[in-house]
C-alpha cells in the first residue's frame, strides 16, 4: 500500500528529508517515541514554542550553555581583577586618600568585577545559544518546503533526514502515516541556480 507523498524542492537534486506536520504537541511526541523505537536517529522536530517533554522524548542532553557561561564568568572575574590590579598596583601605583594598595583595598575593586562578569557572561550566553543552535545561517534546506517556510509558527513539524542509516522513503512515509502525521512531503534540495 502506498500513500500520497508530496514533493518540494527540485526533483533532480538529492533528497534532504521527509517532512511531516502534526496538529498538536502530543502527536509529535508520540511520533518521536515511535521513531526512536524503530531505530531512527537523524530526525528533527520544529515547534512554534518550547514544548515540555519533547527534548526528553528525543533524549537530548542538557544544554551545555550553563557550563560555557560559568567558564565565561570565571574568566571575566580574572580579566577584570587583573585589568584593575595590574595597572593600579604595579604599572602606575595610584594612591588616593592614602588608601592602601594591598589586599585590604580589594572591596573597592569589586563593583567593576561584578559589572564585567555580568556583561561577559551575557555575551557568552547569547553567542553560545546562537552557535550551539547552528546559527547564524542564511538559508536552510527546510525552507524548500513551502508549507514549513510560510507556516512554521502554526504547526508542529518533524523532518526525518535522508542520511539516516535506516532511511527508506516508502517505509518512512508509511510510518509517519501510522502516527497520524499530515502533509507528508519529500524535501529535495533546491537547485543552486534557482532565484
Amino acid at each position: 500500500m502506498s500513500h500520497h507523498l508530496s514533493i518540494c524542492g527540485s526533483k533532480h537534486e538529492p533528497l534532504f528529508a521527509i517532512g511531516a506536520r502534526f496538529d498538536n504537541p502530543d502527536e509529535l511526541i508520540g511520533a518521536v517515541k515511535r521513531l526512536r523505537s524503530e531505530g531512527y536517529s537523524r530526525y528533527e522536530c520544529f515547534t512554534p514554542y518550547p514544548v515540555h517533554g519533547l527534548a526528553e522524548a528525543m533524549r537530548l542532553q542538557k544544554s551545555a550553555l550553563s557550563f560555557l557561561v560559568l567558564g565565561g564568568g570565571l574568566t571575566a572575574i580574572l580579566i577584570a581583577l587583573s585589568m584593575e590590579l595590574v595597572p593600579s598596583t604595579l604599572i602606575y601605583p595610584l594612591i588616593v586618600d592614602g588608601k592602601p594598595l594591598n589586599l585590604l583595598a580589594l572591596p573597592e575593586y569589586v563593583p567593576i568585577v561584578v559589572a564585567l562578569t555580568l556583561m561577559i557572561s551575557a555575551i557568552v550566553a547569547v553567542t553560545g545559544m546562537i552557535l550551539l543552535g547552528g546559527m547564524p545561517r542564511l538559508n536552510n534546506p527546510m525552507f524548500a518546503w513551502d508549507l514549513f517556510a510560510k507556516d512554521a509558527s502554526r504547526g508542529f513539524f518533524l523532518a526525518l533526514k535522508a542520511d539516516d542509516k535506516k532511511f527508506n522513503s516508502s517505509a518512512v512515509t508509511e510510518l509517519l502515516h501510522e502516527v497520524g502525521a499530515g502533509d507528508i512531503t519529500a524535501i529535495h534540495l533546491e537547485a543552486p541556480d534557482q532565484e
Binding site: N24, P25, D26, I29, E44, C45, F46, T47, P48, Y49, P50, V51, G53, L54, A55, L60, K62, S63, L65, S66, V69, M83, E84, P87, S88, I91, Y92, L94, V96, A105, E108, Y109, P111, I112, V114, A115, L116, L118, M119, S121, A122, A125, V126, G128, M129, I130, L132, G133, G134, M135, P136, R137, L138, N140, A149, K150, D151, A152, S153, R154
Partner: protein, 481 residues
C-alpha cells in the same frame, strides 16, 4: 505529576471542592484565544498599514530628539558654560537626567527578569515592552555621561587605557564604576531583549510578503528554525540571562547611588542610598510601563485580550509597593538628618525645603507621598485613564526627586561662602526634552517594526499548549481559532 487543582474541576463538584474562583489565577489571554490568534494579533501590528497617529507621534518625538541633538552639538562646540551648571552646583540637569533615565530602566529588568524567575506568568505579555523601555531608557541615560564631562574628546579617559603620562584611570572611583555598570547594563539588557526576540522575528520572517521584509527579518532572526535543539539552548540562555539581569537590577543602581553616597556632601552621604535609588527606580519604571502600555492598548484594540486590566493592576500594585518604600526612605532620611546631630546635615535638609530651591523638594514630596498611595483603592487602580494620568505624575515626581537629591544637596554644603542657587538654561531644558524625544522615537520604532510581545512565551503558556499524558487541562479544547 500534575497535582494542581484547576478551576474547572472545582466547578464540577461543588459539594466536596471549595470554591477556588477567588484564588484562581486570571487567564493569561482573555476570551479563550488560541495560539493562531495570538500570532496574528501581535504580527498584525507590524504587518498592517502604518496608522496616521504613528506618523504624527514620531514627527513630534523626532523633532524633540533633533532639537536635543542640536543642543548637544551646540554644547560640544561652545562648552559646558551653555548649561546652568556652575559653582556650587557642578552637577545639575545632566546628572539628574542621567540618574532619572538609568533608574527608570530598572523596572523593565525587574518585570522581565525577576518576575520571570519567580514564575509570575502574568508578566509574560508586558515583559518585552518593558525590556524595550529598559534598553531605550539606558540609551537616553547614556547620552549624558559622555557629554557631561564637557570636553567630549577626552571621553577616552573613561576607558581602561593609560593616558599620555602612562597613568591609568582610578579604578577605586565610583565614577569609573558607573561607566562599567552602565555599559554592562546596556549590553546585558540589549542582549536579553534581542535574544528573547529571535524566535518571534523568525515568525515575522516566515510571514513576510515582500522581499525586503523577508531579507531584513531573515538577517535579524539569524536563521532560527525552532527545532528542539535550538529551543533547548534558548531556554537555558533565557534562564541564565534572567539570572544575570536580576543581579543587575540591584547592582547598577547601587553603583549609581555610590556616586553620591561615597562622597561627604550632606544629603548625599547616606548608607540608605542604594536602597533609596533602587526602590525609586522600580517605582518610576513601573509608572513608565503604565504610561506606555495603557495608550498602546487603546491604539491597538487587538491587544486588549493580551494586555489585560488584571496585569496592569498588578503593575499598579508594584508601583504602590515601591512608592511606599520611597515614602519610607523620605521619612527616614529626614529622621536621620535630625538624629545625626550634625548641624550641616540638619541645615542641608532644612534648606532643601525652605531654601531658594525648596519648591523642587516640596513638589517631589507632595507627589511621591500622595499619588502612589491612591493605588490602595481598587476603583482608582482599575480605572485605566486615571492610572495613566497618575503614572505620568509619578514620573514627574521622580524627576524632581532626582533633582532634589543631586542638585539641592550641592547648593548647601559645609562652606557657607559657597552656598548658592541653580538656574537651568534653555539648553538644559531642550537637551532634557530631547532625551524624552529620543525615548519615544525609539519606542515608536519598536512598536512598528518588531513584535511587541513574546509570542512564543505567550503561546507556550496558553491552556492546552503543552502535552499531557493524563489530560489535566480541561480548558485545552475550544479555542475560538
Amino acid at each position: 505529576m500534575s497535582a494542581t487543582i484547576t478551576n474547572a474541576e472545582a466547578v464540577k463538584d461543588p459539594q466536596s471542592a471549595p470554591d477556588l474562583s477567588m484564588i484562581a489565577r486570571p487567564p493569561q489571554v482573555l476570551n479563550n484565544r488560541g495560539p493562531l490568534w495570538v500570532t496574528d494579533a501581535v504580527c498584525s501590528i507590524v504587518e498592517g498599514k502604518t496608522p496616521i497617529w504613528w506618523y504624527a507621534a514620531i514627527s513630534i518625538a523626532g523633532t524633540f530628539a533633533a532639537i536635543g541633538g542640536a543642543c548637544i552639538l551646540y554644547m560640544i562646540c561652545t562648552g559646558v558654560g551653555v548649561w546652568g551648571s556652575n559653582s556650587p552646583a557642578f552637577w545639575a540637569w545632566d546628572i539628574t537626567n542621567f540618574i532619572f533615565w538609568v533608574s527608570m530602566a530598572h523596572a523593565g529588568s525587574f518585570i522581565s527578569a525577576v518576575l520571570f524567575l519567580t514564575r509570575q506568568k502574568w508578566s509574560l505579555s508586558i515583559s518585552r515592552a518593558a525590556e524595550a523601555m529598559t534598553v531605550f531608557a539606558i540609551v537616553c541615560a547614556g547620552v549624558y555621561p559622555a557629554i557631561h564631562i564637557g570636553r567630549v574628546w577626552f571621553v577616552w579617559f573613561l576607558f581602561p587605557v593609560p593616558n599620555s603620562y602612562g597613568m591609568w584611570p582610578n579604578f577605586s572611583s565610583p565614577l569609573l564604576w558607573d561607566v562599567f555598570a552602565v555599559t554592562s547594563y546596556l549590553t546585558v539588557s540589549s542582549l536579553f531583549w534581542f535574544a528573547g526576540m529571535v524566535p518571534d522575528l523568525a515568525v515575522l520572517r516566515d510571514r513576510a510578503t515582500t522581499k525586503v521584509r523577508k531579507f531584513c527579518y531573515g538577517i535579524v532572526s539569524l536563521g532560527w528554525l525552532g527545532n528542539a535543539r535550538q529551543w533547548r539552548h534558548y531556554e537555558m540562555m533565557y534562564v541564565l540571562l534572567a539570572g544575570l539581569t536580576s543581579v543587575l537590577v540591584v547592582t547598577v543602581t547601587t553603583i549609581v547611588a555610590s556616586d553620591c553616597a561615597t562622597s561627604v556632601v550632606p544629603g548625599w552621604h547616606a548608607t540608605i542610598f542604594p536602597f533609596y535609588f533602587m526602590v525609586g527606580a522600580v517605582y518610576s519604571g513601573s509608572a513608565t510601563v503604565l504610561t506606555l502600555l495603557i495608550p498602546l492598548r487603546s491604539l491597538y484594540p487587538q491587544l486588549k485580550d493580551l494586555i489585560t486590566p488584571s496585569q496592569l493592576e498588578k503593575v499598579a500594585k508594584l508601583l504602590l509597593m515601591m512608592g511606599s518604600c520611597v515614602a519610607y526612605v523620605y521619612v527616614f532620611e529626614l529622621f536621620n538628618a535630625w538624629y545625626s546631630g550634625n548641624p550641616f546635615e540638619r541645615g542641608a535638609f532644612w534648606e532643601r525645603f525652605n531654601g531658594t530651591a525648596g519648591w523642587y523638594a516640596i513638589t517631589c514630596l507632595s507627589i511621591n507621598l500622595t499619588v502612589p498611595q491612591l493605588f490602595w483603592f481598587k476603583r482608582i487602580r482599575t480605572c485605566l485613564p486615571l492610572v495613566f494620568v497618575l503614572a505620568i505624575l509619578c514620573n514627574i515626581g521622580m524627576w524632581f526627586e532626582r533633582f532634589m537629591i543631586v542638585t539641592t544637596s550641592l547648593l548647601h554644603d559645609f562652606l557657607p561662602s559657597s552656598w548658592g542657587n541653580f538656574h537651568p538654561t534653555i539648553v538644559d531644558i531642550l537637551t532634557a526634552t530631547g532625551t524624552v524625544g529620543i525615548f519615544f522615537t525609539l519606542f515608536l520604532l519598536f512598536i512598528r517594526f518588531v513584535p511587541i510581545m513574546s509570542m512564543n512565551e505567550l503561546k507556550a503558556a496558553l491552556p492546552g499548549s503543552q502535552p499531557h499524558g493524563d489530560s489535566g487541562h480541561p480548558t485545552g479544547e475550544g479555542h475560538s481559532r
